[in-house]
Homo-oligomer: 458 residues x 2
């Protein structure tokens, strides 16, 4: 565990929902704990860009009044939450981690923030994002790097590094992030929490600053899989309006019913050999596999890994270069050097390679569909090694020099390319640093994904 | 009329279908007429790359046997047809207009050719295409330029120049073409026949060599709109199997019933000011508008024309460069000089511009949807001038120098960008050369499009 523990360390969303309803805590108390923890812990971690103490306390008071009055908005009601600074929250600055957006304050909420508010969540503040979310290290941002709570000299991973560090340090129990190539799952794995990237489009991207529209997803981060499941349900449930407890026999929102975690999972789970995607640290692979438990092993066809990396890299490069074309021409000096160089290279990639990459998705998609004919869930590590030191860009692994930037998303980005639901859950430690078990399914089988995570990895 | 007239000059598909069924002609006779006309007229027009005399005579004999035996495959039964050399016909060479495909003989039919055969059509041969269909002039092809039957020193237009010249000269009554930016409608307008490009995807592109997959369409060419309608119905009807005359009360395929051309059209037709897309020859605009008749006038928003041209140019360039990337690297010398230079430039277009162009389609699409809220059919010229001389690439128009390559598809390519059904029908002569009236509708309103063409332009 990171030391010192925060007020939400070891308390799950399910615990908090129960405590709020049995009178052993209030939203105001939870919010106060969060604000105090941020004040105490955040200077060493840099998880937050903006803290909205007054707004959070006001929202918490309203949440308590509603609960006291019999209005229960479900499992997020009264829960303090952090929102990645790439996602618009009305009235709060949104820097996108960039000097280009210094002073920018949106006047509307992103769609996912509207959903959060309707679900009764209390927005505590905005969390550090890697500059424009274009980087999985989390250590390049206009407001500085977010740090890993297990070892602040190491990277949190990113790009949703602040959301992750805040939950991992126990400052808040829940956060929103975005995930284009692994940007919630990578930091979650490196910091020892859970993160879920839903199927493409399952959470509307409106109001979220784009990186690569074909692969961008909104995701959720919590200490465990069950917390991610609750948050995902709240963000996608058709029950978005207020429900009165008098109208609901259980006295709560339908999705607030405790999940039936104890029955054995019916999911057919297979281990996907990660070597087909990236030749990672064997100790990480072994640790993750031990947590996953015994299961049949499957492989991707030869060449699929390289194909998926090429597709991911070309599509993200061209789409990010499109997003930033005018900024790159008119005010390149406002980018950090690393991003400016990456975007400069991306802007010269020829269009025919983008066309080819988009069409090339069908082959790996067919290969993975074939795996899902016989298996419901694929298991593999989320990241092929543990958190590197801040600013590290190259490392020796298995006798060769690798690019940290590229290797970080080697095991997560395939599921963005294919638009598949993917969850990372804590899977123990290697050298005292967390590693993550990643589970992948096809859209519609999310219940099996969460069941598998809860029964196998707690 | 082009001189000399061919055997199908002045005979519509409806005439031929009637003559075949009342015993006044046979498929074998029609095929013999076509083959004789090709032998006599094609040396001066170069409409055909390959003539399949034996295959056509065999197919005609079978068609006659079927009709005599009571099996009627509908309005194309026994009709000689030409197929653009970009479309695969099993057993016949498919050059794509390129030296890269010299000697290539596919062993399967394109999906649209399978439909043609099931409809009983008789494939007379393969028609000249502009090299890889990348050009609206029709005068660059490995087997030489196709020529305009109204004046063989002028271009037919393209890229379906051979299919058009063959129908316009009366060698055959029907042909298949492809249309990525106007490649059936442009030559049809310049050569005085009708051509229909259906909604995107309405005719499957399988077995058709791609130019730009986002904009590629299969289209049909006939002497008049009613002929295009019959062919379109035959290529898209779910009644693709043989129908016995004993099973059908009318003694023929349902779509063979003569269209009710005489009732007044209920379509709300508007004139779309072509100046919003291109500043063309006013004499052409006036002539076309006179044929279209009195109607309300509508305009595109300022800037929409330029936006549509940019989208078209960027998307086609990148997609064509993708199709030809390996040929351009490994055997550039097999391209004609003009295409080699165009593809070389296209291969350097940055991917972010492609991304932006694809996303930019929504704005003009919304503007055109708004026009279709109040109108069913938009009318405008198909081409902003009459057929230029072969090889002409620049001309003075309205006091400025224009690019013939670009200007030819200025009025047709918007409907490829938007995927809308578009028909060109003959609209008289200017300076003794044909001009075309183009009609556009939204998918599902094709019946109104054809009704409008038949009632307004005959």
């Amino acid at each position: 565990m990171p030391t010192p523990p925060g007020p939400f360390t070891g308390r799950t969303l399910i615990d908090l929902a129960r405590d709020l309803r049995d009178g052993s805590t209030t939203a105001a108390e939870l919010t106060g704990l969060a604000l105090d923890a941020i004040a105490a812990l955040d200077p060493g971690l840099n998880a937050f860009v903006t803290v909205d103490a007054q707004g959070a306390l006001d929202a918490a008071r309203r949440a308590d009044e509603e609960l006291a009055g019999g209005t229960d908005r479900g499992p997020l009601h009264g829960i303090p939450v952090g929102v990645k600074d790439l996602i618009r929250v009305a009235g709060l600055p949104a820097t996108m981690g960039s000097r280009h957006f210094a002073g920018y304050v949106p006047d509307t909420d992103a769609a996912c923030v509207t959903r959060l508010r309707r679900a009764g969540a209390v927005i505590a503040g905005k969390t550090t994002t890697h500059e424009f979310a274009y980087g999985a290290t989390g250590d390049r941002s206009a407001n500085g790097p977010s740090r890993n709570p297990w070892d602040p000299s190491r990277m949190s991973g990113g790009s949703s590094g602040g959301s992750t560090a805040a939950v991992a340090a126990g400052m808040i129990p829940l956060a929103l992030g975005t995930d284009t190539g692994g940007s919630v799952r990578i930091p979650a794995a490196l910091c020892g929490i859970a993160a879920f990237k839903p199927a493409y489009g399952a959470i509307a991207p409106d109001g979220v600053f784009p990186l690569s529209r074909t692969f961008d997803h909104v995701g959720v981060l919590a200490s465990d899989a069950a917390g991610c499941r609750l948050a995902y349900a709240a963000l996608t449930s058709p029950f978005s309006a207020t429900h009165s407890s008098t109208a609901s026999p259980s006295g709560a929102h339908p999705s607030a019913a405790p999940p039936s975690d104890t029955r054995p999972s019916a999911a057919r789970v297979a281990w996907l050999d990660p070597a087909g995607l990236f030749d990672g640290d064997a100790r990480v692979t072994d640790a993750v596999r031990a947590v996953a438990g015994p299961m049949e092993e499957v492989r991707l066809p030869v060449g699929a890994g390289e194909e998926l990396r090429e597709i991911y890299s070309v599509v993200v490069s061209c789409e990010a270069a499109e997003v930033h074309a005018e900024r790159l021409t008119k005010a390149p000096e406002l980018f950090g050097q690393e991003l400016r160089e990456r975007l400069g290279a991306a802007a010269t990639l020829p269009g025919w390679r983008y066309v080819r990459a988009m069409a090339a998705r069908e082959r790996p998609a067919a290969a993975v569909r074939a795996l899902f004919d016989r298996h419901d869930v694929l298991a593999l590590p989320a990241v092929p090694f543990t958190a590197p030191p801040l600013d590290q860009r190259a490392m020796d692994l298995n006798g060769r020099q690798i690019s940290v930037l590229t290797a970080l998303f080697a095991l997560t980005s395939p599921w963005n390319v294919l638009g598949l639901p993917a969850l990372s859950v804590p899977a123990g430690l290697v050298d005292g640093l967390p590693v993550g078990l990643q589970l992948v399914c096809r859209p519609g089988n999310e219940h099996l994904l969460f069941e598998t995570a809860i029964t196998r990895a707690g």
